[in-house]
Symmetry: C2
Subunit: 476 residues, 2 copies
């Protein structure tokens, strides 16, 4: 076990001295990255100091990123080289290109994936095998540009049943993930247009538009969704919005605002609304509000959805529904593109929808997510931080907002929690530019957490919130 | 059987009268689309005219698109409504969006697919099933932006073994088909650059660049490949070429021109060469010439390849190899993109490469294609059109050029053959603008034809060539 002399302690407190000794050994690599440190109890016993002293030293080392803790396993030396590289902000091929998945967390509330364990593996495999056996010839014939007919028909039927949308299969274009379709839309609608995205919002949307050469305006939200006046003021021509469950705020755009948005779109030449319906399958309570596309008689709305949330994001399959005149333009100008999704995957997904497995899966997932949400809310309300916490927008989708009363910035709190193994992102991170927000709202995505992870992670968050308040009060 | 009166024949010849009667009935739908017409012999007997007269009438109806023939089956009324729609040049959703595969031909020499029957179905299915069983967790974790590590490692090893290229897996970016990667390259290199493509060439390349907002110049080829002086003159900054087997000419760029091209690229700031190596696996004879990327020390070459030709185009998987500085830029600016290929397909392909199946498959295909090519050449040389035909650029890839001495335009000849059930495209169709070419070169892609199709189709082509010459001579 590590042994340090307290002879040359100088003016430092015991805990400061211990902190410095361990830090020095980690920097000099005497303690190797990933090496386990002594438990607080045994370290204290060995050095002849109190457990509290060791705990204080460890806490500071955690806060500064020199060590990290894994609950129930102990404390470990961090890889300082990666910390240094990170701090320089340099992106080398090594760490971005080749990282498979990245760091593992005890709990990741910032994720936007689906629950791995809930993937209908057995059914999906069965259907894949069936397709391999039944469709040997079809599997090797290129489908039309918009995607395999069987899949587009199945999607059309699904939209009718679940979103009350009457669309022709030919209006549906299948793509390799929504990012791919954003790019196709820029090619269809024009790079010279001004695209309005939600602020705060899903940052990739703006990044794709910008990478494709389009101009982007970040449009603020109010309580009902994107601000129509601001769309006018910023001369937006194409508004990309997620009215059924905004990311990250979770807000649902009410019907009145929907009509206002359709009004805005009908007023100017060449205005469009891209309705991103990414997790609408998981609405939990209340009557669903009709999609913009289903109440649009002016062909101004493009509907977009993905199977990333509802099946798995590793499938990379999404689709858009084009209004008729845009559909014709797409075929005229862009149908030289081959459909980018492997035919086998398209045919398997078609079977999955046609045979009712998708519906069953969604219902199962909705129940699962409702339980997750209820457990989370219950755990938060029963935790010591209950007095400092409020839950917002919990009725739809795979996430809600946790508003916390904390005496520090969102960033600092996220940093503290990251070192405790809990990934948390503040709403402030989703704003395009820094905003002066008084509130501390954190995104709580519960799609991929187990019950155990929820209990443990909320416990850790609660402990930190309470500790911060205690320290803050003590300073006063 | 159809019966026509020859009483009101007027000044028409017998065959003209018969032609007009049948045509009228097809337009009026008395003869329904797809309806079988009487055989020449029985029709002649029934009407009391000679077989030659019926043949002449049928030939004119075929030439004008009113009927079509299926060898060994007979003559059928065409669907005039589709002809009319086609002639108006209108693209309705109906005919483009929803057509699965389109018209079936007796033989399609214009295709660029791979041979369906040669797809290694058993092995591929086996590996898919293995991945489903072995990789349950990996299948649901998002791979890095550039693609699954196992796949990129396998590609790097393949490139070393087959193209003598030493590249790091992190330089490899996996995409959903080459079209997808063309789009990524415009985002990486810039839309404001001038992209040079080969003329004649693969038309999609230019269309993608233009759809992505880039400027495109069509650069002529000489006997060695793309003209370097013309690249200079047109101020091209990014040259997209296929030096190992140009499409459609089949030309192989010799080493001297390759060095000239590298020289061109090194001369100006921000110049790049995109080396499209789409069917290099099927080089049949001679020592392979090194890829441009493998002899480029200046980081000016981006290498691009696809599994569309070597495995199947319905897999939609391709990759590019970026020089180091571009790789870093890609990760810095574009790694927010998710890899667009289904993880299952990536892992299956990785196994296919790793376990040596890809190598075996390529060897098998190369032998198969060599036999196809030899049979084709033999059949052409033994056919009555031998005196009017010459074969060009037959040493590599999946196609060669058939130069024919015919007394009509490429377009007219393709039209005649199309009505005979043989799809043929003249080299002239691959030029960006109409060129005054004295030669009649036709693309002969033999990747997806059976031996029987080859014999039959060459027989039909030969008959037409000989017929045209006879008619032409008779006119003189």
């Amino acid at each position: 076990m590590l042994t340090y002399s307290f002879a040359d302690i100088g003016s430092d407190s015991l805990y400061e001295h211990l902190y410095k000794c361990v830090k020095k050994d980690i920097i000099s690599r005497r303690i190797k990255p990933g090496e386990k440190l002594p438990s607080k109890r045994s370290f204290a016993k060995n050095l002849g100091i109190s457990v509290i002293t060791v705990e204080n030293a460890y806490n500071q080392l955690i806060d500064e990123g020199y060590i990290y803790s894994i609950p129930k396993k102990g404390f470990f030396a961090a890889d300082i080289s990666s910390v240094t590289a990170k701090k320089q902000g340099s992106v080398t091929g090594e760490n971005v290109a080749m990282t498979e998945g990245g760091r593992k967390y005890l709990a990741d509330f910032s994720g936007n994936g689906s629950n791995i364990e809930m993937f209908p593996f057995t059914v999906w495999s069965k259907l894949l095998r069936e397709c391999l056996t039944d469709y040997q010839e079809e599997l090797l014939v290129m489908p039309p540009s918009g995607g395999a007919l069987v899949l587009r028909r199945a999607i059309a039927e699904h939209l009718l049943a679940f979103r009350n949308m009457t669309v022709d299969p030919e209006q549906i274009i299948v793509g390799a993930g929504t990012e791919y379709l954003y790019g196709q839309l820029v090619q269809l609608l024009g790079q010279n247009k001004i695209y309005g995205v939600e602020n705060p919002g899903f940052s990739k949307t703006a990044r794709v538009y910008e990478a494709c050469g389009a101009k982007v305006r970040h449009i603020p939200l109010d309580g009902s969704g994107i601000c129509v006046e601001q769309l006018e003021r910023e001369q937006v021509q194409v508004a990309h919005i997620s009215p059924s469950h905004q990311f990250p705020t979770g807000r649902i755009t009410p019907i009145s605002r929907r009509y206002e948005l359709l009004g805005w779109a009908s007023k100017g030449e060449g205005r469009y609304i891209i309705e991103d319906d990414y997790d609408s399958e998981f609405r939990m309570t209340g009557k669903p509000i009709p999609t913009l596309m289903s109440i649009d008689v002016n062909e101004r709305v493009i509907y977009l959805n993905t199977f990333s949330k509802s099946i798995s994001n590793t499938i990379r399959m999404s689709y858009m529904v084009l209004p008729r005149h845009l559909m014709n333009e797409y075929y005229r100008r862009l149908s030289f593109y081959s459909c980018p999704v492997t035919t086998l995957i398209q045919l398997t997904a078609a079977k999955f929808l046609e045979k009712g497995y998708f519906e069953k899966h969604i219902n199962r997932m909705r129940n699962f997510y409702r339980k997750q949400r209820d457990l989370l809310i219950e755990t938060i309300k029963a935790s010591p931080m209950a007095a400092f916490a409020e839950i917002l927008e919990e009725d739809a989708g795979l996430h809600f907002l946790l508003r916390m009363d904390i005496p520090c910035t969102d960033e600092k709190f996220s940093g503290i929690m990251e070192r405790r193994g809990v990934k948390l992102r503040g709403l402030s991170e989703y704003y395009w530019q820094e905003e002066n927000r008084n509130q501390h709202d954190f995104l709580i995505n519960y799609s991929s957490l187990s019950g155990e992870q929820i209990t443990e992670a909320i416990g850790l968050i609660s402990r930190e919130v309470v500790r911060l308040h205690r320290n803050y009060t003590e300073k006063d």
